[in-house]
């Protein structure tokens, strides 16, 4: 059974559809890069999956459980948002304790994926209000990977991270994928998409334009680089659409 299923999922804000008629299935152990221009519906798709936004049409299932039902399905979900802000006066260690409490995890706060690698173990007594943007992203990454998720949602995960930390994060993504986790990742960096994606979902004006593997995209266009092949594919599809009309 597919790990994540979108059935005719749509979201309307006033007169505008941020996402419409999305049908997609994401399998265990695959990494899907969700790409598209600004305002194309990437964040809405992610927020619908996480239960932060209530879809106007259709449904979403994670591990066979509906997203807008019992929140217990989120035990299986990890999320790293694009921008993280935490309570200023809490310490990093206290934030991890809170999340461990919520997830009923008995793990030591200094243990777990990426804690040592990103240097978060050395910052446990630091107040969250004093952290830089990059340090907040590291804390966010630790929380996303911490509870062995079967679905991991990463929104521009390397934005704001130094190159070494970004590389460590991408290596962690490859590791968790090997363990059978489904990873959804939004990124504007084509190198990241090429390095990680098993399939690429391209959204435009709230509609899914295609959901193909990198090989299918490059094969269809004859171009080797995704950064060139994707625009070429979109142009070809647009021309075909005009001709059919």
């Amino acid at each position: 059974m597919a790990r994540v299923i979108f059935e005719n999922t749509g979201k309307q804000y006033g007169a505008m559809w941020a996402l419409r008629g999305l049908h997609a299935r994401f399998e265990p152990g695959e990494t899907v890069s969700v790409i598209g221009p600004n305002g194309s519906g990437k964040t809405t798709l992610i927020k619908c999956l996480l239960g932060l936004v209530h879809p106007s049409t259709g449904s979403i299932q994670v591990n066979g459980q509906p997203v807008n039902g019992d929140p217990a399905y989120r035990h299986q979900v990890g999320h790293m948002p694009q921008i993280s802000r935490f309570p200023n006066e809490l310490k990093i260690g206290q934030l991890i304790d809170l999340m461990d409490d919520i997830r009923s995890s008995g793990m030591d706060r200094a243990q777990g994926p990426l804690v040592k690698e990103l240097g978060v173990d050395a910052m446990m007594d630091k107040r969250l209000g004093t952290l830089s943007g990059g340090q907040r992203q590291k804390v966010s990454a630790v929380l996303a990977f911490r509870y062995a998720p079967t679905v991991l949602v990463l929104d521009e995960p390397t934005a704001g991270l130094d190159p070494l930390s970004a590389e460590l994060l991408l290596a962690a993504v490859r590791d968790i994928k090997r363990s059978g986790c489904t990873v959804l990742i939004t990124s504007h960096l084509m190198e990241e998409v090429e390095a990680l994606a098993d399939r690429v979902a391209y959204l435009q004006e709230g509609r899914l334009q295609f959901l193909l593997s990198p090989e299918e995209i490059t094969g269809a266009t004859g171009l080797q680089r995704l950064s060139k092949a994707i625009p070429a594919l979109l142009t070809r599809n647009a021309k075909a659409h005009v001709e059919s009309v």
Binding site: G51, P71, A72, H75, P81, R85, N88, L90, L98, D101
Partner: protein, 255 residues
Amino acid sequence: MWKVYKYTLIDLARNKFVGGWLLLLLAITAGLFQLEDQPVKAMLSLSQVLLALVPLVSCIFAIVYLYDALEFTELLAVQPLHRSKILGGQLLALSTALALGALLGAGLPLLIFFPGGASLTLALACFMLTLVFTAIGALIAIKNREKARGVGLGLVIWFLFVLVYDAVLLWIMFAFSDYPIEPWIVPLAALDPIDLGRIMVLLKVDLAAMMGYSGAIYEKFFGNLRGILVAMAALAAWVAVPSAVAFKAFRKKDF
């Protein structure tokens, strides 16, 4: 809910504004009793200041805190938690921090400088108004996406309750004094939580006579235990109704 409550309270306990609020109340209360020769006059001035300031600070602080915590609330909302538990924890922690500030900053010195029923009633009124306006602030923060708009709305609502509604009520009482409007005055006063607090305190300071016609009506109703209990029930409803609407809105909220 208690996990969210505990860690939100830890954050609030270290918040400079909450500490500053406690010290400000302490300075105002102790200062007024030191400056006035007659404690009853200090008590009267203090009730005017506190019954205006406590709702204002509770409402605006709740709005600003919840807006600033939006990304953290999102982080909690993607955890395996019901949304009602997230808001319950946050609202309870905000109410606890602000109510403790009001009780320790104003209630305690009041009971030291002017022990008696009047001080106790004022402390109780401050406590209830803290809960009422924290709930109203939470509702505003949930229903409005923009912080500036939320704060502006909070100020407008506070101004309506602290001044405008009172003035309208007085005008109604004088304009229709020839008619039998007494049965309507108390229910109309209950529609403004600040007015309710003000009436409860003034009656306890034995200044109802100075309030003239309205004072006589209020004294007749609120001058006994039953009246006080009804006033407290009305204030409790002022906590429950905005809280219930806030919970409903939070369950449906799109982040």
